[in-house]
Amino acid sequence: MLEQELAGGPWWPYVLMTVGALATYFWRALGVALSGRIDAGSRLFEWVACVAYAMLAGLISRMILLPNGPLAETATADRVAGAAIALAIFFLTRRNVGLGVAAGAGALVLITLGRTLF
């Protein structure tokens, strides 16, 4: 088998990344192909847009509430507080995304540091 010969060889990681890239691009190309058949004013189009927004919102709230990686070691309450602070600063600064993001991430870092100190 070709896969057995390649596995563990110097090019193996590149083979895996290429397969990952193709699996990623597949959705984009399929999206372009399918979209040619959907009228922008149709209900089907609006439904697809709703599915896209729902998926992204689900992903974001999952990343905040049930994160993987280093965030998993922080307290859920701290991450929720960080998100709330980001929203508060965003609205208080007349919808400044940059300041909101900086405040939210800064707050999580400070709260987490504070917990290790006390």
Binding site: L56, A57, F90, V101
Partner: protein
């Protein structure tokens, strides 16, 4: 300047005050410029994290760059690196990355009608669909409908080019910074990403159906992830999206202004 934030006049843009560019080239340059700033910094910071993950997996910097160049969409890239470390097979990597990135299908389908213009060769859509990822997509969904059709794809292409280039730079940066950054800095960098996306969607929310989709999706995402880590996100999208779509149809149509805004 659009460096620090999206100016209020842009988020309040309606078809009546369309942003007019002199040429497709001017639209592409405006896209390049608009991504410069917060979008570029936040996404760049996320790729610092990816670069250090590549380092941690014992791979070289070129592999990280190769991944960002070809497979640009962070969650899928992370999955591919993690599966490499675990000794996953080709089929497993293909399936896991495809599952992780399935959101790109509804995203591309819903963005494309805002990018199409008469006379544009089809290969350009296939080429620039590589830039469909949350940050550029959200910008495209907001700005492109307000532009003249022939300026839409160039604007999106410009916006994506800035982001993609920055991600390549910060993938390498993260690779060489791996292990040098204190844990709490990494924490802040990783948290930037979901917080940024959250604010972008709060800032953009306009169509009632899509606002409902964001709210129902945010509510259902975590519990459905607990039910099924593999299928949770897909189920969230279809279920929450359909609920929002149906609710928007059923509710009285008093605030349906800005359908194409």
């Amino acid at each position: 300047m659009t460096i620090v934030n999206d100016p209020p006049e842009k988020s309040a843009m309606t078809p009546e005050n369309r942003q007019a560019f002199a040429s497709p080239r001017a639209a592409a340059l405006a896209g390049l410029r608009d991504a410069f700033g917060v979008p570029m910094l936040v996404l760049g910071a996320s790729y610092v994290g990816f670069g250090s993950l590549v380092h941690g997996a014992g791979l070289d910097v070129w592999l990280g760059l190769f991944s960002t160049f070809t497979g640009w969409a962070l969650p899928g890239q992370i999955v591919a690196i993690e599966l490499y470390s675990l000794g996953g097979s080709l089929v497993l990597v293909a399936a896991a990355v495809a599952m992780t990135n399935a959101r790109l299908l509804p995203m591309t389908v819903s963005l494309m009608p805002y990018l199409r213009a008469r006379g544009t060769p089809a290969w350009r859509y296939y080429l620039f669909s590589h830039y469909v990822a949350v940050t550029a997509w959200a910008a495209g969904m907001r700005i492109c409908p307000t532009l003249q059709p022939e300026h839409r794809l160039p604007y999106f292409a410009g916006f994506g080019t800035t982001l993609w280039s920055m991600c390549l730079v910060t993938t390498a940066l993260g690779f060489y910074l791996a292990g040098l950054l204190p844990g709490f800095v990494t924490l802040g960098l990783v948290f930037l990403n979901p917080i940024y996306f959250m604010l972008v969607f709060v800032a953009d929310a306009r169509h009632r159906g899509r606002i409902l989709a964001l709210m129902v999706g945010a509510l259902l995402g975590p519990p459905l992830h607990l039910v099924s880590p593999d299928w949770g996100l897909l189920i969230t999208g279809v279920l929450a999206g359909s609920i929002a779509f149906a609710a928007d149809l059923a509710l009285p149509r008093k605030t349906r202004e800005g359908r194409d805004a």
